[in-house]
Structure formats: C-alpha cells, structure tokens
Amino acid sequence: METVLSIQSLTKNFGKLTAVNNLNLEVKRGQVFGMLGPNGSGKTTTLGMLMGVTNPTQGSFSWFGEAPSNEVRKKIGAVLEHPIFYPYLTGQKNLELNAMIKQCPPENIPNVLELVELTDRRDDKYKTYSLGMKQRLAIASALLNDPTVLILDEPTNGLDPMGIAEIRGLIKKIAANGKTIILASHLLDEVQKVCSHFAVLKKGNLVHIGPVDDVGKGSEVVEVGAEVANLNEVLLNFTGTSSIIKENGLYEVTLRDGFHSKELNRFLFDQGVTASHIHTKKRSLEKMFLEILAGS
C-alpha cells in the first residue's frame, strides 16, 4: 500500500518541555488513522509540525514521499484545534478566500456547503455561527480542494450529542470515499467507531500503534449468572478460567487464551448448572487505552 505520511524521529521541545519525543509513524493510503492520548500528550503539536505551523526541533517527515512544502499542504485538508476563519466574513466569502489560497476552483464551494448542510447559512457572517456550524464549516473548508488526506483534530470538541453524531456520520461518509483520514481525539469511543488504525501518545512518546480490530482480540471476558449457591467454585473448576471477579451479583470470568464462552457454557451445562445470564464482553478501546497508558 502506498505510504501517505512517513515520520522519522520527529521531536519538538518547548524550552525544557519535550512535547513530542522521537516520533516514528507511517500512515498508508485509505487508512482512518486515530491519534489518541490524554490532553497535552503532543497530538496537536505533531499535527502542527506536519502542517508547517510549528517548527520541528529535530527529525523529518514526508507527505506522499515528498519533502514538506506549502505546495504539498495544498493537497491536504486540515482542521487543527478550533475552526479558524475571518469572523467578519460570511461562510461563503471565507471559503472563497480559502479556495484562492489552496488554488482550487471555487466551483466546489456549493458542493462542500451542501455536504455539511450549511447552504442556508452561507451568506451569514461567520461570527454568527454556532459552534457546531463552525466545526462543519471547517470540515467544508478542509474538503474544498478534494484532498486525498484529511486531518481532523478533535472535530467533535464541544459539540452536543447531535452534533457529535453528525460529524461522526460525515467522517464515515468521507472515509467511504477512500480518503485517508488522520483523526486526533481523546474521545475513544469515537475513534473505535470510525478508525481503522490507531496510535497512542503519552507525554510525547508513542506507546502503541496498531489496527483497531486488534482491540477486541486477546483473552475473552464472560459475564455469568446462575441461581446456584456455589457458582464461584464451579467456575473455578473450569480449566479455561484465568480469574474471576464478582460484580453486581454476576461473575466476570476472564478466560485463558484459546477458550471461549461456548466451552464455558457447555461445561456449566455438564455440571448441571443452567446459566440464567451469559454474556461475552468485547474489550473496549477505552479499556485497552487505559491499560496501555498504565503499562507504559
């Protein structure tokens, strides 16, 4: 697969603070790449360096195999942190200005406005927009030049649940068109829902990188409930049991590798125990994220 972005030992120091430390990363075409990390872990600094607004202290990166330049940036659509526009210009004029800077035809403006559902408000000044509309205008602006790569930094920050759902739908729609998306977020649920790959940053260090599908892999956790007094002992007798926790009257059984809820169910049945509740819990990205952060 074609490499869109390649980062080699990128480092940024702000005085004594190392915001990004020796980062190596590759993003391939078509990936929806999530960048996770707590606040202040260096996500925005990294994206700022990639988009030419923050000068790296050390290291290098290349877009599409080319050295970074303002011409390369024109092929990328990016929204970093907050949406930024001229408050005294209308949405339409702001996009016209952006089209001039990106040197792309202004004919795209109606299309992107339609996509983010801002056509009705295009002639209102930007400063009259709500936060959700500002975010959507920023996405419209990022899509203006039909970029092959889209960078979104906390695109749902400060939005209400409806706005979040809208933006998430939009990202999925864009990803379905085969665009490469780099999404920085601390909303793990969001990343799990839309991303194909993810990386975790902690205090500027890369602590994990891999496909999102891997999150569900590994040992299975099964929640079991049955109306027998010695359920705990029965469960302990199962050869596949690794550990048991009792929670809210139910037993959470973590299984050894290679064992599944199916075998546990059969074992219980053979022991004459009929489970009234049995539920395989999928490991969430949130849990994995906390594990990664705790382990690093």
Partner: protein, 267 residues
C-alpha cells in the same frame, strides 16, 4: 504575485473597518491638501485683526513647482492613519489566528508576508497618485503661468514620497508581526517619533554623527520641511542620495526582520 495581492485584498474588501479607516485617510488627505488657500485666508484675517497685513498672493503655496514639495511634505504627516490600518490588518491575523490557518491551507510564511507587503505597496502608490492629482489640479488653478518646465521640476519628490509611506508601512508591518497586539503596537507607533527624539537629544553631544541614521530622522531628512522658504530662508529642494540610501536601508531591515520573525516562530 498578483495572486497574493488579491488574497490580501479579499480579506479587506468585506471588512468595514478597512473601508472606514482608508476612507477617512483619503478624504482627509484630499480635503486638507486642497484647502491650503483657505488656511492662508484665515491667516490673513488673523493678521488683519492684529493690524498687520499679509498678502496671500505673495505666498505661492500652490504654484508650480512649489506645490509638489508643499503637498508631499504635508501629506506625509497623515501616514500614521494608513499605518494604523496596516496594524489592524496584520494583528487581526494573529488574534484570530488566521495566519495559522492560511499556512495550514497552503501559503508559505514568506508568501504571507509578501501578500501584506504588496498591499503596502498598493496603499503607498494610491497615496502618491492622489497627491499627484491634487497637486496637478490645484497647481493648474493657482499658478499664474503654466509652463512645462515648472511642472516637471521637483517631481523627484514623488518617488521620495512613495519611499516615505512605504517605509512607514513597513515599520508598522514589522511592529505588528513582532508585537502581535493591536493596542500596544498602535501606541508604540504613535510614540516612536517621541522616543527617538528623546534618544537623539541625549546623544546629540556624544555621537551627533549617527543621528541621521535613526529611522524617523531619516524620513525628516529625506523630505525637508519646506514652508520656511516663504520667510525667505533657504530650503533643501532636492533629494540627497545619502538620505535616500538610509531610508531604503531601513525598509530592507524592517521587512527582513518581519521575515525572520515569521520564519522562526511557531505560529
């Protein structure tokens, strides 16, 4: 190059403050420079009240070629208004952080600076054109004899006037990029004349030979105060190469510092 100018003008064209400030500047420029005769009449009236007489026809304020230098020197005093417009335009980019988005969207840092510089060139050229037209019209009206020789005399003050305006706008641009806050920048801009005067007054006894190299002083030396010629004093009605060189030197320094600051800093 034209493309960069268009981008910067696009930012301005729908900005009401820009129209108000530029409108005020050009209207004030036109009215004040065109109403010199009214001023002389008022002066004559005042003299009369005190019992002395002033023959305003003996003061050839608008006669070719006097009119050029008279208007150019006077309108140079209004350049601060235009400079304040530049400060607003540039510091806005920092307060709204739009400079950051411009660069993310694909402008290089030098292109950003260049787009602002081109606007400065345009504003300076407009001032030059305005004063030239006003000078030409008033000269035609008030000059007793109109001959080509007198009209084309002293025209070199127009390139000098351009330099003066462009110099000051470059200074405003640099201060805006260095300070990034409109209020503080405007205050420093207004005070720079005075601050420099205090410094030069203090070193007058020690190092008088470096005083012509001070930036604000270099402008006063480029286009010298002309009105004392009506009190029968000698004036400098030509351009000195050294003064031009110092002003051009400062223009290069100001814009290079702007470039360095933009290049080095995280935006």
């Amino acid at each position: 190059m034209l493309h960069l100018l268009k981008i910067d003008l696009k930012k301005m064209m729908n900005y009401r403050t820009f129209w108000v400030v530029c409108g005020l500047y050009f209207i004030t420029l036109a009215f004040t420079t065109a109403s010199g005769m009214e001023f002389l009449k008022w002066l004559a009236n005042t003299f009369e009240d005190f019992g002395s007489e002033l023959n305003i026809n003996r003061i050839p304020l608008y006669h070719f070629p006097d009119v050029w230098l008279n208007l150019v020197w006077f309108s140079g005093c209004l350049k601060i208004v235009l400079a304040i417009m530049v400060v607003i335009s540039v510091t806005n980019e920092f307060t709204y952080r739009t400079v950051r988005q411009n660069i993310i969207d694909g402008m290089s840092r030098s292109q950003f600076l260049f787009s602002k510089l081109l606007t400065n060139v345009l504003l300076s050229l407009m001032s030059v054109l305005m004063i030239f037209v006003i000078g030409l019209v008033t000269g035609m009206i008030y000059s007793p004899v109109i001959d080509m020789q007198n009209i084309i005399t002293d025209l070199e003050f127009f390139p000098a006037y351009f330099l003066e305006i462009f110099f000051f706008l470059s200074y405003a641009l640099m201060m805006s990029i260095l300070i990034q806050r409109s209020g503080l920048t405007i205050i420093l801009l207004l005070l720079s004349q005075m601050i420099e005067a205090i410094i030069t007054a203090n070193i007058d006894d020690v190092l008088p030979e470096i005083i012509p190299f001070f930036p604000m002083r270099s402008i006063w030396n480029l286009i010298k105060f002309p009105y004392q010629r009506y009190a029968f004093q000698e004036i400098q009605d030509y351009l000195k190469f050294s003064s031009v060189a110092i002003v051009v030197g400062w223009i290069v320094i100001f814009n290079y510092l702007s470039y360095l600051k933009l290049k080095k800093s995280d935006i």
